[in-house]
Symmetry: C2
């Protein structure tokens, strides 16, 4: 857990006014090049200070020979030096009161005894100089709020996300970012914890708990020795912000792999599962559902109960969805008498069986009657959340804006499962829906995970309020 | 099972020289319009014969008042009439020796006793007139080989696919088509079996077994009363062509839903699972893996054993992959001494632990050393299949063509797990890889399912050859 002073320093480093990039280089294949390029591509608005003893200009940026020459006390130092030089550079950081150093080099605890000793030196240098360490052995960090892409994966950033990510693997973290992009979900902050020489999961949770622009926290974890500190911090955080977690190491073999990766014991998967459940973290099975649950929690209003309805123009997908919701906390509600009367009227002379999931068949093809059905189901007091399934069709317009309006008016979450491809048209529908608080999925398992995540978190909050 | 004569007639209907579309209409929201539009959009090369008593032209096509007026004996009749008129029209089909009728109307066995009686009449009319029935209550059928999109979901078709689909749900069938499109997998034939009044799964399996352009068969099933005929036919077919199956109804609730859908009992899921395993069908958990397994089987060469290697520039994704392969038939091999010697040479002074999965870290970032590693691992006699993980990066070119070349030269399957987004660039890599027999995935679970599917099918064939 961070002291107040440390938290303040870390906040300054994550939203810096100035960053120094030590070891910036012209050689395109090196991380010192990609890191500078990332900071530029991200659109960082503060001062960008590349440092290299022998370069003048890189990527049209003036290069300084030392921090001293920049005439600045940078909030964040991005250190693209080798494992030994990184440690040495921390004395310089201390001299200029750098708040935190992002250390990307590997070669520490993940490579055995020799590395363990180096990591200890790194930690001591950090303490001696009052510099917080992010990493080492990390892809970096992102804060899209200030346009800071401090990773050696140069990409542009999209603002406006409410989900922030803490990841123990750069590669999986990149998967999460890519999946989020493909799902139309901007990411707010992204932190690669690396070997956690100084700062660990609990510290980053504390940081994001205090960050007003973060509303949902997504975590990828291999393992941590500070598991207790993590879950205790999590328990506090989830009162206000849901935490969704993907834990690696389900297999014994994967656990051994993790050991030589970031130097952490993965621990028994079942033990972690039980603890996460007890401390009210929402568990995801894979990267896709980590993103889909986080997306739903960040976009949709909270359901008032666990009763769900499913509306579909074609039965098959709803059967798969019901399969995927088996063993979830959702209850496939029975429609109220009032609802059944309204449906009877609408389906007069249409040969379908009226039940939940409601297979509207041909009635569901027309925009108007589809919307009528959405409204009828949302009006049912026994429906807390509605999943509407729709199919891509050239000759039908999907009433995205109207669904947003209905979800708002009835104050109930609606989730759209769209049977279609990833096309410009479906992305257009998605944009309308998601900007209006209606999560959009094209995949049954993502939809089911999102529904379950929404209901689980709402139940937990309800329990807690009941207990108070 | 079809007689030789029936099979010949069904083949003619699926690859027709002429199709009549009965009930073609100008009203855009009706299936009679979408069906004609689909046939046109698909690029069907044979004669297209819209029939309607009161229209002259629809979609720039001459409309005939009756089949008689067309002066043709159409191979396939697409019937867009209601459930009663569909039955009546079969007499006309018989008169003009139509081989098969595609009946899209619902209102038969899926709606209860009354519909059951209608379906019996439909069946009798079909037998009386020697007309095979596809459906009723089906989205239609697709044969991209002849540009025939006979569904009421108008889309263009892509030729060249080796995977054909049999689906009991139009909606799930559409999901499969959309997922396949998103995965860069063209579909050869696609058949919505509907209520299976006449033709059932076993008949369509028989058809596709005889179809030389189909190399893999993907099935979505809710349930069938002819389960024995299906698995017995499947057992024959899988000697030459793998069958991948997704079975709905894992939950008891989903089983009840299926009953009112296509009028079939779903049956115990566990029973089906056991039977499928025994009869050597490859089971998929969901639509995405149904597609990914089918894709791998249709593209990659067959592995000679179950030993796999994983090469990655970043550990995290490989840990998730190992997790996903837990309980599979794959063996994460130990590298041979010769391989270890080559790796030791390449990784001199690089602080990594050399094991499988091989975390190449920085060495894996450069195209040249990455390719060297691919070659070293493919040369290991204890490696039957290689998964290479790569990450999207602006400053690195992914050596797609070279990987294709290595997979061919070493005659071993390679599967690429790409940590990236769905961008034009990644689709370009995918195109190069997949056209060269290297399946490309961006998702861990899809990759794991593909690896497992390839190894399982190869093992079964090996067992069978051993037994003979």
């Amino acid at each position: 857990m961070l002291t107040k002073e440390q938290l303040k320093r870390l906040e300054s480093a994550i939203s810096p006014k100035s960053v120094v990039i030590v070891g910036a280089t012209k050689e395109k294949h090196r991380v010192g090049y990609s890191l500078l390029e990332s900071v530029l591509l991200g659109g960082f608005q503060g001062r960008i200070l590349p440092v290299h003893p022998r370069h003048d200009m890189i990527l049209d940026q003036k290069v300084y020979s030392s921090i001293e020459e920049t005439d600045e006390k940078p909030d964040l130092a991005i250190i693209a030096l080798n494992e030994q030089s990184t440690i040495e550079f921390l004395d310089t950081c201390g001299k200029f009161d750098v708040k935190a150093a992002l250390c990307v080099a590997g070669g520490y605890s993940e490579v055995g005894d020799q590395g363990e000793i180096l990591q200890q030196s790194l930690k001591e240098a950090a303490e001696r100089n009052n510099v917080l360490i992010i990493g080492p052995n990390t892809l970096g960090l992102i804060n899209s709020q200030v346009g800071l892409n401090a990773t050696f994966w140069p990409t542009e950033l999209e603002q406006g996300g409410k989900v922030s990510v803490i990841t123990q693997s750069g590669g999986v973290g990149q998967m999460i970012l890519c999946q989020a992009k493909d799902e139309g979900l901007p990411i707010n902050k992204w932190i690669g914890v690396g070997n956690r020489a100084v700062l660990d999961f609990d510290d980053y949770l504390q940081l994001l708990a205090e960050d007003s622009s973060t509303e949902v926290i997504a975590v990828f974890m291999e393992g941590t020795e500070r598991a207790r500190a993590f879950v205790e911090m999590a328990q506090e955080v989830v009162v206000n912000k849901p935490i969704v977690i993907l834990k690696a190491g389900q297999s014994s073999l994967a656990q051994r792999c993790a050991l030589t990766h970031t130097g952490s014991m993965a621990g028994s998967y079942e033990m972690y599962q039980d603890i996460f459940e007890q401390f009210r973290l929402i568990q995801a099975d894979n990267v896709a559902t980590l993103v889909s649950i986080s997306k739903a929690l960040s976009l949709a209003p909270s359901p008032k109960g666990s009763n769900i309805a499913i509306l579909t123009p074609t039965a098959g997908p709803s059967i798969l969805l019901v399969d995927a919701l088996e063993n979830s906390d959702c209850n496939l509600t029975e429609f109220s008498d009032a609802t059944m009367e309204k449906l009877d009227e609408l389906f007069i002379n249409v040969p379908v069986v009226l039940k939940n999931p409601l297979d509207a068949a041909a009635v569901g093809y027309s925009g108007d009657s589809y919307l009528q059905l959405v409204e009828i189901l949302l009006e049912d007091p026994d429906v807390d959340l509605l999943v509407t399934i729709s199919t891509e069709h050239k000759n039908r317009v999907f009433p995205a804006a109207e669904i947003v309006e209905l979800s708002r008016r009835k104050e109930k979450p609606v989730i759209v499962l769209f049977v279609g491809s990833r096309t410009e048209e479906s992305y257009m529908y998605r944009q309308i829906l998601q900007s209006g608080g209606v999560p959009f999925f094209i995949n049954v398992e993502d939809t089911a995970a999102a529904v379950q995540g929404l209901i689980k978190y709402a139940q937990w909050r309800e329990d807690r309020n009941g207990a108070n």
